[in-house]
């Protein structure tokens, strides 16, 4: 029996029901009228403002914390190659270049800590570019295959799922795999045989020897093939950015109008000729996909930290250990020895942030307008 069908007598005698939202009627009595509309609009606008505050706050906090380092080192922070968090004791030298001896002991000078970020900027740049060189051809080839061939074989869904899963594997898992599988493999099987082959090629000497300058003398030293080096870092990065470039590249290629492909085929183009036309047609979107990969490679931390060798030096060989900006942060930040050390590390983070923001903004500008935008947001 429906309640509303009952005679209304009982209703008139009943005490007035308690209002369901007492706070609202109280507000109304006082002349305040806040509807749900206004409330929701305020709430969502406030949240939207929070997003802006998040970015501005991020830049502001980092810049403020990096200020002592920026003031102390200025431009030499970017051009300097010395990264020395602790004070250094060196023997004092007289004007004649000889060591000064006072009271029978060698007189020592204390050098203050110095911070130059060039080695880590070099490390990030080179490892990311090498990773792109490995990953881009493979990704774009696979993207073409996914768009043009896989749907006919009815395997596009399955392959896409696997590629997306590859993208979802966390960085630390790649790091673990790199440390315990890739590093021993490179050390045991690849690098020694490469050394055997390439050393015979004239002009490749620098790949296997580094020169250290001590005072006026230069010492040449063979680089030990440990497997934990720039090559391994770049390979791990390449594996990690393969899925993102493949996924975004696939979406960009899928957005090429059908007529464009059919037109080339009608003119008698072969499979590769029409594919090349597709690549040319969507080149700006594909470039955006590559930039996204670059941004991810530059900001990647854990896997690189575990395999790149972590050594603040610039050695042109890919077989030498290196350090990236993010791996430097991961290694040193928690145990920073002094406020200026911490400030210098935060300046590195600020440079890294600005770099990856630049890559991301470019990428999104280029990918805009295609379906790939959603994929890019992940």
């Amino acid at each position: 029996m429906n309640q509303s069908m009952l005679p209304s007598v009982t209703l008139t005698t009943a005490t007035p029901a308690r209002p369901r939202r007492p706070w609202r009627s109280i507000l109304r009595q006082r002349g305040w009228h806040i509807g749900a509309d206004t409330l929701l609009a305020l709430l969502v606008r406030g949240s939207a403002a929070v997003v802006i505050i998040m970015l501005v706050g991020l830049l502001w906090v980092l810049a403020a914390a990096a200020l002592p380092s920026i003031r102390t080192f200025g431009w030499s922070f970017i051009t300097g190659t010395d990264w020395r968090p602790n004070e250094l004791q060196v023997p004092r030298k007289g004007p004649d270049g000889k060591i000064v001896i006072e009271d029978g002991e060698v007189a020592m000078d204390t050098l203050p800590p110095r911070f130059g970020a060039l080695p880590v900027i070099y490390g990030t740049t080179v490892s990311s570019l090498l990773a792109l060189a490995f990953a881009v051809p493979i990704s774009l080839g696979a993207g073409l295959f996914l768009v043009r061939v896989a749907p006919k074989l009815r395997i596009a869904g399955a392959i896409s799922f696997l590629v997306e899963f590859l993208a979802a594997i966390p960085s630390i898992a790649y790091g673990l795999w790199g440390l315990f599988v890739l590093v021993p493999f490179l050390q045991g099987h690849v690098e020694s045989s490469l050394q055997g082959m390439l050393l015979k090629v004239p002009g490749l000497h620098w790949l296997f020897y580094s020169t250290i300058h001590i005072g006026n003398s230069a010492i040449e030293r063979a680089i030990p093939m440990t497997g934990r080096d720039m090559l391994c870092g770049s390979l791990i990065l390449a594996i990690m950015i393969l899925p993102i470039i493949t996924a975004v590249g696939r979406d960009v290629l899928a957005a090429v109008p059908r007529v464009q492909i059919e037109g080339t085929l009608a003119l008698g183009a072969t499979w590769w000729q029409s594919s090349r036309e597709m690549l040319r047609f969507s080149r700006s979107g594909l470039f955006g996909a590559v930039m996204l990969g670059l941004a991810r490679a530059a900001g990647e931390t854990m896997a690189v930290t575990m395999v790149i060798g972590n050594s603040n030096q610039i050695i042109p060989s890919v077989f030498a250990p290196a350090q990236t900006m993010s791996s430097l942060l991961a290694n040193e930040f928690a145990e920073a020895s002094s406020p200026i050390h911490r400030s210098a590390l935060i300046e590195v983070a600020l440079i890294l942030l600005v770099m990856s923001l630049a890559f991301n903004v470019t990428a999104r500008y280029l990918v805009v307008g295609t379906e790939a935008r959603t994929a890019a947001a992940h």
Binding site: I52, L55, I138, L166, I172, T246, W272, L352, A377, H378
Partner: protein, 284 residues
Amino acid sequence: MFRSFHNSLTRAQSKLMFGICALFTVIILGLLGLVAGYLVSIGVGSLSWSFFTELPTGRPESPGGMRHAIEGTVILIALASFVGIPLGLLVGIYLAEYSKEWWLAGPVRFIADVLAGVPSIVVGILGYELLVVPLGRYNGWAGAMALAFIMVPIVARTTEEMLRLVPNTYREASLALGATKARTILRVVVPAATGSIVTGVMLAVARVAGETAPLLFTALGSRLLTRNPNQPFPSLTVQVFTYATGPYPEQKRLAWAGILVLISLIFVLNLAIRYMARRPGIAS
């Protein structure tokens, strides 16, 4: 004669490039098989019941289990979700339903995109400056908030995309019946897209579950079972990193097991996302 030679050359080139593209696809899948295969095969060998039930013993030769880290990760994700998901949802609603306010919606959409690309280690440093320095010690809140920071843009952008898929006729019908804008959004538009919004939320959870870098200088990690976020807080990923880079083989085995647990969780989330995305969220 020359022409047909050229033709066959072009055709051969096309076949070659086709083969290369197919090969590249196989390489990607092969890499997946290689990575996942190693993680699973070594991880399964190292996995045992005590992994889930025991705490670290402090003795390298019999390091115990990772119960503290599993609980820690769950608590961190819960705390991060508590802040990140509602905020992300509200931003997503704003971007989809109030997009006429171009002066705010345009910049916010752009910034949400940009935030999604911020390196996670930089977010960790923000957490350090804002929550570790004032409290004077590494703590769980800082870790959770760093994770929430990463969740917001992911949830916001997927929510926006999903709300945009709801046909405009739904909104018009609701408004025509006299419903207010708020009622239309909360009772008609959002429920119509709930399935796919949940997908976006799970995507964000899967992403932060595997994050390590933002936790290094915020939650720091801990060998103790703790539920107090004012203290240094354990998490699966940081514990795996500590064990993997340490010198003891028994701890390395635990690291493999930890990664297997993490990957399985993410794989299940991905399967669920795929299943939910396939179901039409909107009846047409």
